[in-house]
C-alpha cells in the first residue's frame, strides 16, 4: 500500500479491485441464511457486490437472501433505480408462514474504476469505508422510502473510493456476535467493534488482502460467541489496489534458444513465482544459476503428488502436469486449498493471494508422457492451463494472461 498515491484515480487502468467474502453458517443449519454475490461487468470496468441476510435461518432464509442478491445484482447491472429495484424485490420474496412477511436485508456496492462508488443499504449494519486505518464518511448520503413498503428505508451513499481504500460490509451476525452471551458485550460486537478490529488488523498488516481481512473479521465474530455460531455470519470486503502479479512458468520452450528469455520471466520475486514441471525447474537452475531444494520431510508428506522444491530468491518448483491437473480440479470445483496435496495447495494459496496470474507456457511436448506404460492419461499442458485460466476468471475473478514460448 505504501506505493499508492492518495488519489490515484488517474491511473485507474493499473488498478485491481479485489472482492472477497467469508461466511459461517448458524450452528445446526444446513444452509447459510446470508448470501453474497459478486459481478464484474468487464465492458464497463464496473464491479458489483450484493450481500443479503434472509429472514430467519436455514433454507428458508437462504432462499430469501439468494433471491435478493440475484435480483439486486441484475438490477444494479441494468441501472434500474434503487427504489424500483427494492419494490420488485420485496414484492417477489415469498412470505414466511410463521412471520407473515417476506424480508431480506441487503447491502449493494456499485463501482466503476475511475469513478465514484454507490452503496445502498437496507437493514444491514452500516458499511465501513477505510483509507488506511482512517474511516472515511460518504460524500453524501440520503434516505429513500418506497410507497409500497414505507417501513423499509433504504440508505443511499455516494462514496469517494480511491486506490488503497477498503469497504467492509457485513450481516448482523457479525455485529451482533456475543450478544446475550457475553457480559462484556451487552449489545454484541457492534459496528464499532468491527471497525476497531479492522483498523487494528490493517495497522498490523497494511497490505492485508480482502480475502484475509474478510476471513479475519468473520472468524473473530465466530470466536466472540462461545458455544457455536448463533446467527449466520457474512463479511464482504472490497479492496482497490495495484494488482499483485504472480507468474507460473510451465513447460520447456519449443525452441531451446528461447530458454534464457523464458527463464528471465521468473525474476519477479520469490513470493510470486511458481515453476511447474521438472524440465522447467531444470531450465531455471541452468539459466539463473539457482538450485532446487526439496526437503526430505516434504517427500513423505506430499499427499499424493511429487514434493515441492524451493529455489532461493526465485520461487517454488513443483511437478508439472499432475500438479496442474489437481490445481485445475480444485479451482473448477472451488475446493479450499487447505485440503489439497502440498504442491497443489502451495500453488492454489499463491493464486488466491494474487490478483493477476500470468502463465508463461513452454509448448514443447514431453515425449515420455506418451509412454504406454504410464498408468493414467496425461493431458496436454496447454489445454490444462487454458482451463485453469477459465476457472480463475470465472470462479475467482482473477485476471489471467497466457504467454507462449
Amino acid at each position: 500500500m505504501a506505493d499508492l498515491t492518495p488519489n490515484a484515480q488517474g491511473s485507474a487502468a493499473d488498478l485491481f479491485i479485489e472482492m472477497e467474502a467469508a461466511q459461517f453458517t448458524k450452528t445446526g443449519q444446513g444452509a447459510c441464511g446470508d448470501d453474497v454475490r459478486f459481478l464484474t461487468v468487464e465492458k464497463e470496468n464496473r464491479h458489483l457486490v450484493a450481500l443479503s441476510d434472509g429472514l430467519g435461518s436455514g433454507v428458508k432464509a437462504n432462499v430469501l437472501a439468494t433471491m435478493t442478491t440475484a435480483m439486486a445484482i441484475e438490477f444494479l447491472k441494468s441501472n434500474i433505480p434503487t427504489l424500483e429495484a427494492v419494490e420488485i424485490i420485496m414484492d417477489s420474496l415469498p412470505i414466511c408462514e410463521v412471520r407473515k412477511i417476506g424480508y431480506a436485508t441487503f447491502s449493494l456496492f456499485d463501482f466503476r474504476l475511475g469513478g465514484k462508488a454507490r452503496i445502498s443499504e437496507m437493514g444491514n449494519p452500516g458499511y465501513i469505508h477505510l483509507r488506511g486505518v482512517e474511516e472515511v464518511p460518504p460524500l453524501k448520503d440520503w434516505q429513500v422510502v418506497s410507497e409500497h413498503w414505507p417501513d423499509r428505508e433504504v440508505r443511499e451513499c455516494e462514496v469517494d473510493f480511491r486506490a488503497g481504500d477498503r469497504i467492509i460490509m457485513c450481516s448482523d451476525g457479525v455485529t451482533q456476535s456475543g450478544l446475550g452471551v457475553r457480559k462484556d458485550m451487552k449489545f454484541g460486537w457492534r459496528r464499532s467493534g468491527v471497525l476497531a478490529f479492522a483498523r487494528e488488523r490493517i495497522e498490523r498488516e497494511p497490505d492485508i488482502s480482502a480475502r484475509d481481512l474478510s476471513l479475519a473479521i468473520a472468524r473473530q465474530a465466530l470466536n466472540i460467541t462461545p458455544g457455536g455460531c448463533k446467527d449466520d455470519i457474512s463479511c464482504a470486503v472490497v479492496y482497490l489496489r495495484h494488482p499483485r502479479v504472480m507468474r507460473v512458468l510451465t513447460g520447456p520452450p519449443y525452441y531451446k534458444e528461447n530458454d534464457a528469455e523464458y527463464a528471465r520471466q521468473a525474476l519477479l520475486g520469490p513470493d510470486h513465482i511458481v515453476a511447474c514441471g521438472g524440465t522447467t525447474a531444470n531450465i531455471l537452475e541452468r539459466e539463473l544459476g539457482v538450485k532446487v531444494k526439496v526437503r526430505l520431510a516434504d517427500m513423505k508428506t506430499a499427499g499424493g503428488l511429487p514434493p515441492i522444491g524451493t529455489m532461493e530468491g526465485v520461487g517454488i518448483a513443483t511437478e508439472g502436469i499432475l500438479t496442474l491437473g489437481r490445481v485445475l480440479s480444485a479451482l473448477e470445483q472451488m475446493r479450499p486449498p487447505e485440503k489439497e496435496p502440498t504442491a497443489a495447495r502451495a500453488i492454489l494459496e499463491r493464486m488466491m493471494r494474487h490478483d493477476r496470474i500470468e502463465f508463461i507456457i513452454g509448448t514443447k511436448v514431453n515425449e515420455s508422457h506418451q509412454d504406454p506404460n504410464i498408468p493414467q492419461d496425461l493431458e496436454l499442458r496447454r489445454s490444462v492451463v487454458k482451463r485453469i485460466a477459465a476457472a480463475l476468471e470465472k470462479n475467482y475473478r482473477k485476471k489471467v494472461t497466457l504467454n507462449y514460448y
Binding site: G277, N282, V292, G320
Partner: protein
C-alpha cells in the same frame, strides 16, 4: 565406500511409474547406514527422454550411475552393495 548419494527423479513419468513408492525410502534405511546415505529428490533427471536407458523410474547414484526401473528394494540392495555389505 564411505558415503552414497542418491537422487530420485520426481518428474511426471518417473513419479507415475514408481518413484511415488520411494518417497519414504529414508525411513527404510537400516540404522547402521545412518550418516552414510544422502537422499535427494530432483525435479527431473531428464533421463526418460533418452533412449536405451531401461525405463522410468530413474534414480541416479553417486552422480554417474543410473538405475532404471528403480524400486525401493532394488535401491536398498544397491546401496548395501556400495557400502560394502554394511547392512
Amino acid at each position: 565406500m564411505e558415503k552414497v548419494k542418491v537422487e530420485i527423479c520426481c518428474g511426471t513419468a518417473c513419479y507415475l511409474l514408481g518413484a511415488a513408492n520411494m518417497m519414504d525410502i529414508e525411513d527404510k534405511l537400516p540404522a547402521e547406514w545412518s550418516g552414510k546415505v544422502e537422499i535427494e529428490a530432483k525435479p527431473c533427471l531428464e533421463l526418460c527422454e533418452r533412449e536405451n536407458l531401461g525405463g522410468a523410474p530413474y534414480v541416479r547414484i553417486n552422480d554417474t550411475e543410473v538405475m532404471a526401473q528403480a524400486t525401493p528394494d532394488k535401491l536398498l540392495t544397491r546401496i548395501g552393495e556400495l557400502l560394502g555389505g554394511a547392512a
